[in-house]
């Protein structure tokens, strides 16, 4: 009897917390279909906010910029990070520890400090460059804008690539590389034909993590975007205007996109799991 009550209580508690997490999102999605601008009176159904969202140039441009920054910075971070992971793997314990600690800095540091410190570096560049230009070295006057966004996104994404690829490398049997060499591959072939394919899943998941972190980042971009607007920065400027139901529409769309990605990923994973089970 006691256990039955206990179980009901457990379930109620889980539902309560889930309600707390999903209620605000649910309300937003519901009100994205609201005819009036009111955030508490539901007056009638409309899709107007979705229409105005898709004709909102500010949002569309911001989305395009976010995607551009995410793709470029993730590719660079993934390549540099994978190379680094391979390099670190061949190192001794001591130097590995030093590098690991450096990699932890952006993870551990509050984002606002990463953002501010990068901004100071770029401001320093702007003051230093006039001197270099005077010496006849042609460099851009200011980095603020796309270059600073890319640099900062690559910087905060790099460690995540290493954290993803390094464990996989350590699991890898070193002998397959040597076997490939014995069987007549040169170093390049052995790497690209034998080692890299085994790392591909880890590299791919690192790349996806970078993409999501990059699209989601607000704080670091906020200090390093110059006059450009990424999607989160555009959202921020929309929330400053207090009432704009377009945000609700945007949230609904983003929620749907995320849900689809997760469900598809999950379905693939469970299919993979079943296949592995069968093989066993």
């Amino acid at each position: 009897m006691k256990t039955k009550h206990w179980r009901t209580l457990q379930r109620a508690y889980v539902i309560l917390i889930m309600g707390f997490m999903y209620l605000p999102i649910g309300v937003m999605i519901a009100f994205s279909f609201n005819e009036s601008k009111s955030r508490s009176n539901f007056t009638g159904f409309t899709l107007d906010w979705y229409k105005s969202l898709f004709s909102n140039d500010m949002i569309l441009e911001a989305l395009a910029l976010s995607l551009l920054v995410a793709v470029i910075s993730s590719i660079v971070a993934t390549v540099l990070g994978t190379m680094a992971a391979i390099g670190i793997n061949g190192m001794g314990k001591k130097s590995r520890l030093v590098i690991e600690n450096i990699s932890y800095i952006p993870v551990v540091n509050p984002e606002i400090i990463t953002g501010v410190s990068l901004m100071l570096l770029f401001v320093g560049y702007n003051t230093g460059v006039t001197f270099l230009n005077g010496l006849g070295i042609p460099l851009p006057d200011s980095l603020f804008g796309l270059p600073t966004l890319l640099i900062s996104h690559i910087t905060f994404n790099l460690p995540y690539v290493i954290f993803n690829v390094s464990p996989k490398l350590r699991q890898l049997d070193g002998r397959i590389y040597e076997a490939a060499l014995d069987l007549g591959c040169d170093h390049k072939q052995a790497f690209f034909k034998v080692v890299l394919p085994q790392l591909t899943p880890a590299i791919l998941s690192a790349f996806l993590i970078c993409i999501t972190y990059s699209i989601d980042d607000f704080i670091i971009s906020y200090f390093n975007c110059g006059t450009l607007q990424t999607l989160p920065i555009a959202i921020y400027s929309m929330t400053r205007k207090k009432v704009s139901p377009e945000i609700n529409a945007l949230s609904a769309i983003m929620f749907l996109v995320i849900l689809t990605i997760i469900l598809v990923g999950n379905a693939r994973e469970s299919r993979q799991y079943k296949r592995d089970q069968r093989r066993v």
Binding site: I25, M83, A84, G87, I105, I112, I113, S117, T155, T239
Partner: protein
């Protein structure tokens, strides 16, 4: 295996230029005045803002404590579910995390308004209206809502390693529910608690958007102060850097505190 240490060189150079050097620039700015001469006046000026620092620490601590209290039972319940169910529940917990935190915080803005949905709902029962938005409570709520998953996940991970038999053994040996909780469950999940505390406290104490959106103008936090020095009206890089330096020290202290706690927990677990 491949022994090409030089492959790590581009990464190292990148991290030194864009991660390590900028931190030293922050320190340099914090210890100089506008003309570049050494001074400690930035750090002493911070004393004027001690109330803001105190508020940040208190609100972040409140949010962390609330997250811990809410997440502990949830993490435990989840860790006792069948593994297929655990997977779905974890997905459900992580899903809101994927939404941009600005959107999530904006959702609460409209819920907490004076003529918002919560007050409207309460007025049906003849209660309220309450003034909820632009209070420190709203800021804590925003922190709890945004960072609760960061507490649930490490707690859950730590608790999946506790076997049912350990809890049953404690009960068989005469421990009360309270005894099982304080002498078995909490010590064994200490590493998760420590990680969770850091993962909630650090972003909470350094946030500047949640406080602005939900706290109005009267609930400035350290993050807001720093932002004002770099992009806002105050525009004083030196003072802003000094504040950043203090924030870094706070975060480091918090982490070293939870680290010792973590190690003690591990020792307890090894027993």
């Amino acid at each position: 295996m491949i022994k090409k240490k030089s492959l790590a060189a581009p990464y190292l150079v990148w991290m030194v230029i864009f991660m390590v050097v900028p931190l030293f620039i922050v320190i340099a700015y914090a210890l100089t005045d506008k003309s570049g001469a050494f001074t400690l006046s930035n750090l002493t000026t911070i004393g004027r803002y001690s109330s803001v620092f105190a508020r940040s620490l208190i609100l972040a601590a409140e949010a962390t404590l609330i997250c811990l209290v809410l997440a502990f039972p949830l993490g435990y319940f989840l860790s006792r579910l069948r593994s297929s169910k655990q997977h779905t529940m974890l997905m459900l917990i992580m899903l809101p995390m994927w939404m941009n935190f600005l959107l999530r915080t904006y959702a609460w803005m409209s819920l907490l308004e004076n003529n918002g949905l919560i007050n409207k709902f309460l007025s049906v029962f003849g209660i309220g209206p309450f003034n909820m938005i632009n209070t420190s409570g709203a800021v804590v709520l925003g922190m709890v809502y945004n960072y609760l998953p960061y507490m649930i996940l490490p707690l859950y991970t730590a608790m999946t390693k506790i076997e049912d038999s350990v809890i049953e053994a404690a009960q068989d040996l005469g421990a009360s529910t309270w005894g099982t909780l304080t002498r078995v469950l909490i010590p064994l999940s200490a590493p998760g608690i420590a990680t969770g505390i850091t993962m909630v406290f650090v972003p909470s104490v350094s946030t500047f958007i949640i406080s602005r959106m939900l706290g109005g103008g009267s609930n400035l936090l350290i993050g807001d102060l720093i932002e004002l020095q770099f992009l806002g009206n105050s525009y004083n890089f030196n003072l802003g850097s000094a504040m950043s330096l203090v924030l870094m020290v706070i975060v480091l202290l918090c982490m070293s505190f939870t680290n010792t706690f973590d190690e003690e927990g591990l020792e307890g677990g090894a027993m």
